[in-house]
């Protein structure tokens, strides 16, 4: 049965929708949104000599 103590660690992750929810929100938000937002905030003004 799957509730035996020798459940593979990866299976424990697969069976845990709450952990997947947290990771599934954090990882894209950091990698795409937050990083992209930082890139935009750091843009310098044009010199236009």
């Amino acid at each position: 049965m799957n509730n035996e103590p020798n459940k593979h660690p990866w299976q424990k992750i697969l069976d845990n929708p709450w952990l997947l929810l947290v990771l599934g929100v954090i990882i894209p938000v950091l990698s795409y949104t937050v990083w992209g937002w930082i890139e935009l905030v750091l843009i310098k003004p044009a010199l236009l000599p």
Binding site: M1, N2, W10, Q11, I13, L14, D15, P17, L20, L21, L23, G24, V25, I27, P28, V29, S31, Y32, T33, W35, G36, W37, E39, L40, I43
Partner: protein, 568 residues
């Protein structure tokens, strides 16, 4: 008011019934909301489809049906109704199924489901009304500084919030089912895929709220204009990530339908689920491919994100591209269809519309959608593709030829099993997926080739530029004819569904009328190939052919890129 202490469908007093075809339990609350959301979804599909016909007959410049202002208006309408309304309503219906029947569980809350439905429907009607009233000619993307009437943004916010409420109901049902031990063991793959879709939906809808609320308050004159570059970044967190919800839902439907029709099962549950986890973690990064030729976001951000973190999410799609056909092949071989490498393919129930829709969806999404998507989404190749018709050429084979066609296939079982009505005009139904799939493929070819010649998307008239020749017009004609065929495929589907709901033979105390499943031959043994890891010869050949096509298309595009001016 209190919930019953057990959300187990088998608990006394729980409103449920046993399906006469599958023997599975159905929560009557979930059933009600599956019906509501599916029907409303199909209504929006039909509206979006009528818009599609008008657009196809306009871009086909020989016909040039709509005047310019109505073209841009209907284009906005089409995008919203197809990419947001049709698909989110149908997906909410799928979620209600996936958290109840497979887990023998009861829907968490009827009240929450009503709130979700009311918000989504109000928002949908609001946004459709304001577009047709001519106050929101901004395209689905509504890029600032283009400004629409506040009701446009408010409508989208209501749809997003409503969907989030539905997703909450899904997770709550999962939680209570586990807590009350409505089921034991791990959830089945269909539920796992639906959970992946729901997780991605959370990310999507959060981005929707973050971008739409300040834009709404700006449109009301209460706050300053959000920055256009910031708007694009966050909007595509809503816009593309909603499509990733579609991918997960579509793949779940592939597993579901292939199981129902030919008894397919995942050949390795761990591999399939890991593929869904790769989607959960990384597929949303690819929203970056809308910003590849944008100012402001740098090359490193572009390259890392558009590669789905080194193509891990593409790996996931390639995994499903093997495991879904492999499951079908195993199911067929175990039934005795063991002739040669492809004997099982010939014996498949091609006349079963749910099955043909599934296979067509898989082939169109994989060969056409996936290959073009990954290629167009490389930072540098995007230079020769951004905002050309190649882009709609890509997403019509993924969202329409892939997801929508799979959902149509699902309807051929949902209506008999959930609405308990046998389909009318069954002969016509058998042809419908082929007509729709062919039409969409033709439309997409027209778009892709015209786009390769530099024809823009979202443009009413290419003659105004004076730079496009007869070849471009030829491909726009192909687009037009494909669009007409696809429209008829869609219209037939909508009429069949509506007609069946009113006139279909009621199913009571019997199984639904079978669409066609391959009979088990003499010598068949269920489960006999469970330990034969080299049984799926046909699938292996298919996937290697796919890989070869991928490599050819991919490198051909790099070559085409190398021919344009150096730029940095």
């Amino acid at each position: 008011m209190s919930h019953s202490s057990s959300h187990n469908l088998a608990a006394p007093g729980t409103p449920g019934r046993v399906c006469g075809t599958t023997g599975l339990g159905i929560c009557l609350d979930a059933q009600k909301f599956i019906k509501l959301n599916a029907v409303v979804g199909i209504v929006f599909l039909l509206l979006g489809g009528i818009a599609a016909l008008l657009l196809a007959l306009t871009r086909w410049q020989t016909v040039h049906l709509l005047p310019a202002d109505w073209f841009y208006r209907i284009l906005t309408f089409h995008g919203i109704n197809m990419l947001i309304l049709w698909i989110l309503f149908f997906e909410v219906a799928i979620l209600y199924f996936a958290c109840t029947t497979p887990l023998n569980a009861r829907l968490f809350s009827k009240k929450v489901a009503w709130v979700s439905f009311a918000l989504m429907l109000t928002g949908g009607v609001m946004v459709d009304y304001i577009i047709i009233a001519g106050k929101a000619d901004v395209m689905m993307t509504s890029y600032l500084p283009l400004l629409a009437h506040p009701l446009f943004y408010l409508g989208i916010i209501l749809v997003a919030v409503g969907t989030l409420v539905g997703v909450f109901n899904y997770f709550a049902t999962l939680y209570v089912a586990k807590r009350d031990q409505s089921y034991t063991g791990s959830v089945p793959i269909v539920t796992f895929g639906a959970t992946a879709a729901a997780i991605i939906a959370v990310v999507t809808l959060l981005h929707g709220a973050v971008v739409m609320i300040p834009t709404f308050t700006y449109s009301m004159g209460w706050t300053p204009q959000p920055d256009p570059a910031w708007y694009r970044l966050i909007w595509w967190g809503l816009g593309h990530q909603s499509q990733q919800v579609n991918v997960c839902a579509m793949v779940s439907v592939w597993y579901l339908l292939s199981h129902i029709v030919v008894g397919a099962r995942p050949i390795n549950e761990a591999v399939c689920r890991t593929a869904f986890v790769l989607y959960i973690l990384f597929i949303n990064l690819a929203s970056a491919h809308h910003l590849l030729v944008d100012p402001g976001v740098g090359a490193t951000w572009k390259i890392w994100n558009t590669s789905y973190a080194m193509y891990l999410a593409v790996l996931a799609s390639m995994i499903h591209g093997f495991t879904v056909p492999a499951g079908i092949e195993i199911g067929m071989r175990e039934r005795g269809y063991t002739n040669g490498i492809f004997g099982w393919v010939v014996a498949l129930p091609w006349r079963n519309p749910a099955f043909s829709a599934t296979v067509l969806s898989l082939l169109i999404f994989g060969f056409l959608g996936g290959i073009t998507g990954v290629t167009l989404g490389t930072q540098q190749i995007n230079i020769i593709a951004h905002n050309t018709l190649r882009i709609p050429g890509h997403f019509h084979v993924t969202v329409v030829g892939g997801t929508t066609l799979a959902f149509m296939g699902l309807a051929y079982y949902v209506i008999p099993l959930i609405f308990q009505r046998d389909f009318i005009c069954r002969g016509v139904a058998r042809v419908q997926p082929w007509l729709f799939g062919f039409g969409i493929t033709m439309l997409a070819f027209g778009m892709s080739f015209a786009g390769s010649m530099g024809v823009s998307r979202r443009s009413w008239d290419i003659e105004a530029q004076g730079v496009y020749g007869p070849a471009a017009h030829l491909w726009l004609g192909v687009l037009g004819i494909g669009g007409v065929l696809a429209f008829f495929g869609l219209l037939i589907f909508a009429l069949l569904c509506v007609g069946t709901l009113f006139f279909g033979a009621k199913i009571k105390d019997r199984a639904m009328t079978d669409w066609g499943t391959p009979p088990a031959l003499a010598g068949s043994k269920a489960g006999s190939l469970a330990h034969d890891h080299y049984a799926t010869k046909g699938t292996m050949v298919l996937t290697l052919v796919f890989l070869a096509c991928f490599a050819v298309y991919y490198f051909a595009n790099w070559k085409a890129l190398a021919d344009v001016w150096p730029v940095r």
